[in-house]
Subunit: 405 residues, 4 copies
C-alpha cells in the first residue's frame, strides 16, 4: 500500500465555503435521490401545492411567487423580460460585480439602463438616488434595480431606506431587488418594505442544488408590466404564478427532483423559523467579522471589504489580504485542511494579479457554529503556517462573539 | 398491525411508463447525491470538459452543443431566440401537440409562423412540404421546424427525407429538429442528415432528471443567425458552446448536481454504443406494437395511433382504446399492478371526455426487456380484469418479437 | 463513440430475482443513506423503540424479539446457542438444503441431532414425525426444528399441523421454525401456532440489506433454556430482548444504518398490512406456478420442484428444466433481458452437471405484478430464443391468474 | 411561518464527535446506496477479492484476515471462540472499560481469565506483565489480551514493547490485540510487532457503518488454535479466511451493501497511504491535547485523562472537566453549535453523578483539520458561554500545533 500523496490534514469531509453553491443538507439530497414521479397527477401536485405558501413566506410576501428552471442569471433575465419593454428605462444601483451584471443583462435585452455605480466596497448613497429620482420629473424610470447583498463585495443595501426614498420623492418606479445572495440569510420583508420584484435562486440560502430561479412579484408589478414586450413564453411570470394547470407552473416538464429538494429545504426553514434563520446568519457573520478585525489589527493589508457592519451582508464576507496572500491562504486551506474558500470576484480587473489579494468566506444556508468556527480556525492555522503577518487570536474573537449569542 | 388498504399487487417498486421523465438509472441518481463542488476550479471543470464530446456524439455531430438549465420548452425558446429576429418567417411541420406547441411559442415571440399541420396520427407529407418550399421563391422562410418524434402522437418524421426535400428544392432554410422525445432512442445523425439545429432535454432518452435543455447547432446556423434580435443573454448559444470561461457555459452558476448526473448518463450511452442503444429501443418498440396489434385484432376500438411502423417513434407509443377504457386501464395498472402509463395528450379537445380513450406507453432511456414486457403483461392482465374486449396474447406476440432480436 | 458490446435488451434497470437478497425498496436505501447518529441518546433510541412492536407483529407474537447483527446463519447459531446445552437432543425435519444446513450447524456445536430428511421435493410427513415423537417416551428431544419454507427447494412446512402433532402426542419439545425465506411472505402466526422459536433475517421478506438476523422466542422457551451451556454473551437472547440499556439490544455498538433501514421496511409492512402482504405473495406465487404448468405441459423436463401447491412457499419457486437448460435460460435472461434468476441449490451433488437443469425464481419482499410478470415474460422470451421446448403461453396463464386476484 | 424553537447556532450539518460510529464518508454511503447484487457470481466476487489485500495491508500483515457480520463485541467473541477451549487460561491487560469488557466476555465463555487492571488512566506496566509471565513457568497462559487504544480511557498500549516482554521472557502465549478504536488511526504493524490476533470493527477508523467485525490472525495462531472447543461454525475463522467458496467468507449470505462500503473505505485509505493516515490522526490528536492543556492551565479540574502523550491514542481523547461541567458543555455544544461530543465511559461507577464530569472527543477516521478545529472552537465557545473557568486560547494552541504539521 504505497502512496504518492504527501501527508495532509485535508482528508476527511471537504468543506465548501464559497458563496454558492452552499452546503446541501442531507435531507435535501436524500429527498432528491428518488425515482421519477408521475407529472400528470399524484403526489407531486401536493408537494408543489405545499411549496407556494412556504416560498412566499421566505420572502415575506402574500403576493406572487414564480419558480423557473434556471439559475440566478435566468431569474435576472426573467425579471427583466417581465418588467420591461424595449426602450424602457431602468436605474440600477450597483455595489459590486453582480449589480453591474444585472445591468449589463438588461442593457443587452434592449432596456435603457442607467447604472449608478458605488464601487466595490461602498453601500448605496441614498442621497444620490434621491437626487436622480427627483430629476426624473416625467417618471421615465420604470424600475429601480438593486442588489440586497452583492455576492462579490458582500455589500448590503438598505432596502427599507430605498423604499423610503422612493416614497419621499413620490416616484412610481417599481422597486426590484436581487436577493440571490441574501434570501433566507438576511432579513427581508417584501411586502412591508414595498418591494415589487424580488429575485433569487436555489443554491445559496435556499439550500437546494443550483437549477432553480425564483421571482416574487407584487400585484402592482403584475398590473403595470402586463404588456411588457420583452416577455416571452418561458419567462412569463403570469402562468407560473397563477396558472390553472400544473405544467404552466414550469412552462413544460416540471423539475421533478429539484421540487422534492426545494420542498425539503423550505420545510427546514419553516421548522427553524425565519427569525431564527436570520439570527443564526447574523451571529455567524459577526464571528467572521470579529476574526478579520483581529487579523487585520497587526497587518493593515488584511481588512474586511466593507467598512461598516451595517453595510455587510450576513451570508458572505469579502475581504482583502493583499499581495498574493489570499490565493496562498485559499490554497493552503484547501489542500492542507479541507476548506475551500471563495475567490475574490470583481475586485481587480481581469488579468490584474491583484486579484490574488482577495477572497470571500461564505456562511450561508445550511451552516452552523461548528462549520464556521472550523473555517476561521483553519484560516488562522493557515496564516501561521504561511507566515502571513496577522493579529493573533481572530478565532478567539470569533468564539467570544458566539459565546454571547 | 391493522390496515385500511385493500390488498393490491402494486406494492413493490412502482414503475413509471410515462413519456418523460423516464426511469432514472441508479448510477445517475447516485452521481447526483453528493456535496456541492467548487465551481471556480477543480474536478467539475474536468467533468464538463468530458461532457462535450459525448454530448455531440449522441446527436451525431462534430459541431456545436449548448446546455441550458431549463426544460424542453426552454430549449425551444432558446432555439427560437437564437434563430430568429422578430418578423422572420418559420415553417413548422406539426404531427402532434408538441409540434404545435413549438409553433405557438415561436409565434408568441414574434416569429411569423406558418404551421403545416398533419393532424395527430399522420406523418409529414413531404410533397406538401416540397410544394411550400418551391412556392417560397424569395426564400423568406428562414427555418423549417419539425419534431423528430412528437411525444403526444408518437409520430416520427423522416428527417433524412426532409433534408432531401430541402436539397431538391435548393431552399436555404435552416432545418431545425425537436429531438426531445427521440434523442438517444431513435437513430439520429445531425451532420449526415444536414440538420442545423437539434433540440432536446435531459429527462427522456438522456436519462437525467428534468432540468437541462440542449441545443446542437451547425456552423451554418451559427453564422446565419449571429444577428438574431430575439437573442438574449440567457439564451445566446455562442458563449454556451464556445465560451472561454467556465461560467459562460451556463450563463452563471453551473447546474452542479445535474452535471454529475448527465456525465454519468452520457458515459452509460457511450459504454453501450449508440447503435446498440437505438437497436434496443427499436426492439422494445416493436414488442409494444406487436402486443397492440393482437389486442386490437378482436376489438376495433383498440389501435396504435400511427398506422405505419415506419412512422412511429421508438421511445413512446400512443394508442387508442376507446370509450373510457384507456383511463380505466391506466388506473387499474397503477393501483393494482404498480405501473403508471401515460395519459393521451392532444388527442381530444380540452374537456372532451374522449380523452379517456387514449393512452401512451413509454419505452425510452433506461429501459430493458424486463421493464417493457412487464408493462405489457400488466396491461394484458388489466384488460382481462376489467373485461375490456381484446385479442388475447398481446404479451405472447411481444415475447415472440423479442425472442428474435 | 465506439463500442465493443453487442446489442442487448438488458440495458436498463437490472432486475434481481434470486431468493435473497431481495429487491431493496428505495425508501429503505434512502433511510440508510445518512450520517452516523449518536448512539448514547437521541433519535435512534426512539427509532429502536418503535421497531420492537412492529417486529413482533410481523411474526404474529406478543412475546420476545431479538435482533442480531449477523445473517441467517448467525440467527441459526443464535437459536442453537440459546436452546441447547452440549449433548441436548434435537429432531430436525429437513425439506431441503437449508434444513440440513441448520442441522449440520447444531451438530457442529455439540447438539445430538437427529435429521428426518424428506428429500428435496417433498413436504414433511407428519405421520413419521408423530411416530418419532411417540417413540421418544422419556422426552429426550428438547426441540423440533423445521424450516417454514426451505429457500433451496421452496418446500413449505405446515407449521400449524406440526404443532398439532406435538400436541396430540403431548410432547413438550420446543418448536423452532426457520422463517428466513418466509417471514413477511407466507402467513405465519407464532403465538397462535404455538411456535417457541422463530428465526429470520433481514434480506428477504423484510426488505433490508443483509446484515441483521432475528429471533422471536416464547416465554416458554426463555424459561426452559435459561441454563443452556452453549449460550455465549453475543448470542444470549435475554439482554437483546429484555435489556435495560440500549447497548444490550445489540451487545455493543448498534447497527445504526441498518436500524434506519429496518425501521422503514417494517413501517412499509405495517402500512400495507400483513394480510395484504401475504395475499400479494400468494397471488404472485400463483402466477409463477401457472406459467410453469403451461411451459411443462409440452416438455416433461420442465416442472415445478414441489408437486402440490399447498406444499409450496409463496416467496420462491424452485423448478427443473432439465439438461443444461436452466443455466442456458438464466444466462440468456441476465445478458439479454436484464433479469438474474436464482441458481438451483442442493438439487444435485457438488460437481454433478445435473445442477444446470435447476433454477429458482424469487418473488419475495418488495415485489409487485409488474416485476414478477416481467420476469415470467422474459423467461418465456428466453425459452423461445433458445429453442427450449415448452408449452406456449405460460405468461398468458400468469396474467390470467392475476386478473382474478 | 411561526416557530416554537428558540434561535440556535446548531442548525446546519450536525457534527458527531463520539468515538464511534465515526463520520461516514460520502463515498462510502454512496457506494452502499445501490440495488442488491447477485451473490452467486458477478461483480461482488471481484469486489471481495480486492478487499482482502487491502484489509491485510491496513493491519500490516500478509497473513490472514476474516470478516464477520457483527460489531466489535462479535469480533471479541470470534477471537475468543477461535483461540480458546473451555478452561484455557488468558491474561488480560486492561487499561479501561473495554479491556475489562473483553475479559468479562471471555470469562462468560468459559475461559480462565486473569485480569491485570491498570485503572482508567494509566498505561500497561510492562514490569508487572513480565513478572506474571515469568511466574507462569508451565506456560499455562495461552494468550495475552490487550487493547491497543481503549475507547473509554483513550489509553494506548505499547504493543511493540509488549511483544518485547513476551520475547524476553520466552513465553509462547499468543498476543491478541483489540484494535477496535485504533485500526487505521494509530500506527500498527501486526507482522513486525509479532501480533497473533488483531481485532477490529468497521465503524471507527475503517469509516464504514457499524455491522462488520474483523479478525486478523497469524499462521501461528491458526495452527495452535485449530482444536479450540469454543469454536462454532459462525465464528470459525478458517473458512472465512481460507474458504474456497464465496459463501464461506461470510458463513452464509454476504453483507452485500456493507461490502461495497468497506471496499470504498479501504480504497480511500490506500489512496491516502497508511503513513499519511497515521500522521493525520497524530496531528489532529496533538491539536486536541494542546487545547486541553491550555484550558486546564487555569482550572485544575480540566485535564486530559492520560498524563503522558506517549500513552494516548490518536483517535479519541478522554478528558475530565469536573462537577457537571462535562455534561453541561456537551449539551451546549450539541444544542447551540451542532457538535455532539462523547460521554465519559467507565470513569465513574453506574449511578455516580461524577460521570457528568467526563467527556470524550473523537478524532477518528474521516476527519480533517476543519472538522477537529471546529469541534475545539465550539468547545471553547461553550466554555465561555457557560462560564466554566478555563485557560483562554485552547483553540489558539490547536491552530498553532497544526500550523507546524
Amino acid at each position: 500500500m504505497t502512496t504518492t500523496r504527501p501527508a495532509s490534514l485535508a482528508n476527511g469531509r471537504p468543506y465548501l465555503a464559497i458563496p454558492g453553491p452552499s452546503v446541501m443538507p442531507d435531507r435535501v439530497l436524500r429527498a432528491m435521490h428518488r425515482a421519477s414521479p408521475n407529472i400528470y397527477g399524484g403526489e407531486i401536485y401536493e408537494v408543489v401545492a405545499a411549496i407556494w405558501p412556504r416560498l412566499r413566506a421566505v420572502a415575506g410576501t402574500t403576493q406572487n411567487a414564480a419558480i423557473y428552471i434556471g439559475n440566478g442569471h435566468a431569474a435576472w433575465e426573467a425579471a427583466n423580460a417581465n418588467m420591461f419593454s424595449r426602450g424602457d428605462k431602468a436605474l440600477v444601483l450597483a455595489v459590486g460585480h453582480f449589480g453591474n451584471g444585472w445591468a449589463k443583462m438588461a442593457r443587452a435585452m434592449g432596456v435603457d439602463v442607467e447604472v449608478m455605480d458605488f464601487g466595490t466596497a461602498a453601500p448605496v448613497d441614498m442621497a444620490r438616488v434621491e437626487a436622480a429620482l427627483r430629476a426624473d420629473t416625467n417618471h421615465s424610470i420604470k424600475a429601480v434595480l438593486a442588489t440586497h447583498v452583492d455576492t462579490s463585495s458582500s455589500t448590503k443595501t438598505n432596502v427599507a431606506a430605498l423604499r423610503a426614498v422612493l416614497d419621499a420623492v413620490g416616484h412610481p418606479a417599481l422597486l426590484a431587488i436581487d436577493c440571490i445572495a441574501s434570501m433566507a440569510c438576511d432579513e427581508f420583508h417584501m411586502d412591508t418594505w414595498g418591494v415589487d420584484v424580488a429575485v433569487s435562486a436555489s443554491q445559496k440560502g435556499l439550500m437546494t442544488p443550483p437549477g432553480l430561479g425564483f421571482l416574487w412579484f407584487s400585484e402592482n408589478a403584475a398590473a403595470r408590466c402586463r404588456n411588457s414586450d420583452l416577455r416571452t413564453p418561458y419567462w412569463d411570470w403570469e402562468p407560473r404564478a397563477k396558472g390553472t394547470e400544473f405544467w404552466q407552473y414550469f412552462n413544460g416538464t416540471a423539475p421533478t427532483h429539484h421540487i422534492y429538494g426545494l420542498s425539503e429545504a423550505l420545510l427546514m426553514l419553516e421548522e427553524e423559523g425565519m427569525e431564527n434563520v436570520w439570527a443564526r446568519h447574523r451571529a455567524l457573520a459577526g464571528a467572521v467579522w470579529a476574526a478579520f478585525d483581529v487579523w487585520g489589527s497587526e497587518n493593515p493589508a488584511i481588512a474586511l471589504n466593507v467598512a461598516r457592519a451595517q453595510d455587510r451582508g450576513f451570508s458572505v464576507t469579502a475581504a482583502r489580504l493583499g499581495g498574493h496572500d489570499a490565493t496562498r491562504l485559499r490554497e493552503w486551506c484547501e489542500h492542507q485542511a479541507g476548506v475551500t474558500l471563495g475567490i475574490g470576484l470583481g475586485m481587480a480587473a481581469p488579468g490584474d494579479p491583484a486579484w490574488h489579494g482577495f477572497l470571500r468566506v461564505a456562511h450561508m444556508g445550511h451552516v452552523n457554529a461548528h462549520m464556521t468556527l472550523g473555517v476561521l480556525a483553519v484560516m488562522e492555522t493557515g496564516l501561521q503556517a504561511l507566515g502571513i503577518a496577522h493579529g493573533a487570536g481572530g478565532i478567539m474573537a470569533a468564539t467570544k462573539a458566539l459565546s454571547h449569542t
